[in-house]
Subunit: 181 residues, 2 copies
DNA sequence: AATTTATGTCAGTCATGTTGACATATATGC
DNA sequence: GCATATATGTCAACATGACTGACATAAATT
């Protein structure tokens, strides 16, 4: 076999596998089922590619996706507390601890005692942290910008509405309450 | 402190962290930056919740998210080959191998020698595999259905357009070429 | 007959998540 | 002031799922 087809799965030929759709032709549920499955797959493919570039950059520096998340959200909410971060990421304190202390140690994040509640360690990015944040987020911002531009403003509204609907909690939806006017 | 606020990060008070937006007020790039960051975060929150329920079900049965992906795509493309699966998942052969052989051993997936190319192992779900696939996918289908219903058909079109734009490769976009009419 | 392809496997490593227990400092309620 | 709750950190042990690199086999292709 030449390699003409090898990079394209299911690229043709009599034995090309076809999606299994469960119900048969005229059933009105058929389309709905197919539509929903496509959404499931789109989420998988889009998220896989969305995280791919930052993952590469991180790996070159001995960091992982978990570090990216922490850097991202600390950059987004400067002075946030550890518990806020735990609420957002929905991982355990121990999982965060490992990642966070590494980031502090390697100079990406600085901790400062809270003035109101002195038990809190308020988290902020160092200059190095900001630089890394920009480097990582830039790839994702470009990707989204490209998709938004290609799809148009109405599509963007639709995308946002569906994404909000997919989330489980109102608390998370509320983060997006203030639309950019 | 009472727990009135503890479940809602940033729920108020003078010290509530605010998003850092980089550029200042009147800059037209400001809104764009905020809009793009919201998209980045929506992808994170939506995907986190989207995978949460299946992950729980899987964990109860000693399986993980990787098993779900394999079960899902084999259910979707019955008779698919191992290399097709590798192309879709974009993981290494070794990573897939462990997951796949466990699924075969535990009776979720059966392998059959290809008739055209006898090197191939064509993958299909067993009855038990189908049952598991339904169990797992049902939670995600319901979630998407709810989001689609709430957002409306135009929003769904927009969602699809943006998701396609986020993907890296035309090969993946092509999977969604045949719209449900 | 030589090469390529499809698949499988072994050994080792790393990142990231988990649970459960325990420790410390600080804040809050009575 | 004392008891309790909260915010944070830390230890040990473990599982999953990704990786690399090397090697093996059978079948297809050239």
């Amino acid at each position: 076999m030449t390699d003409i087809n090898s990079s394209k799965p299911f690229s043709g030929g009599p034995n090309r596998p076809r999606p299994r759709t469960g119900k048969s032709g005229g059933n009105p549920l058929f389309l709905r089922e197919e539509e929903l499955r496509q959404a499931i797959e789109m989420l998988f493919f889009a998220y896989r590619d969305f995280t791919g570039e930052p993952d590469k950059i991180l790996a070159e520096r001995g960091l992982g996706r978990a570090h990216h998340r922490v850097i991202y959200f600390v950059g987004r909410y400067p002075g946030m507390t550890v518990s806020s971060l735990l609420d957002i990421l929905k991982i355990t304190k121990q999982s965060l601890s490992r990642v966070l202390s590494q980031l502090v140690q390697e100079g990406y994040i600085s901790q400062e005692q809270g003035s109101v509640d002195r038990r809190q360690r308020l988290l902020t990015l160092t200059d190095q942290g900001h630089e890394m944040e920009r480097l990582l987020t830039e790839t994702q911002r470009k990707r989204i910008a490209r998709a938004y531009r290609a799809a148009g403003p109405e599509a963007v509204e639709g995308f946002r509405a569906v994404m909000l609907g997919i989330m489980s909690s109102d608390d998370d939806r509320d983060r997006f309450g203030d639309r950019p006017e």
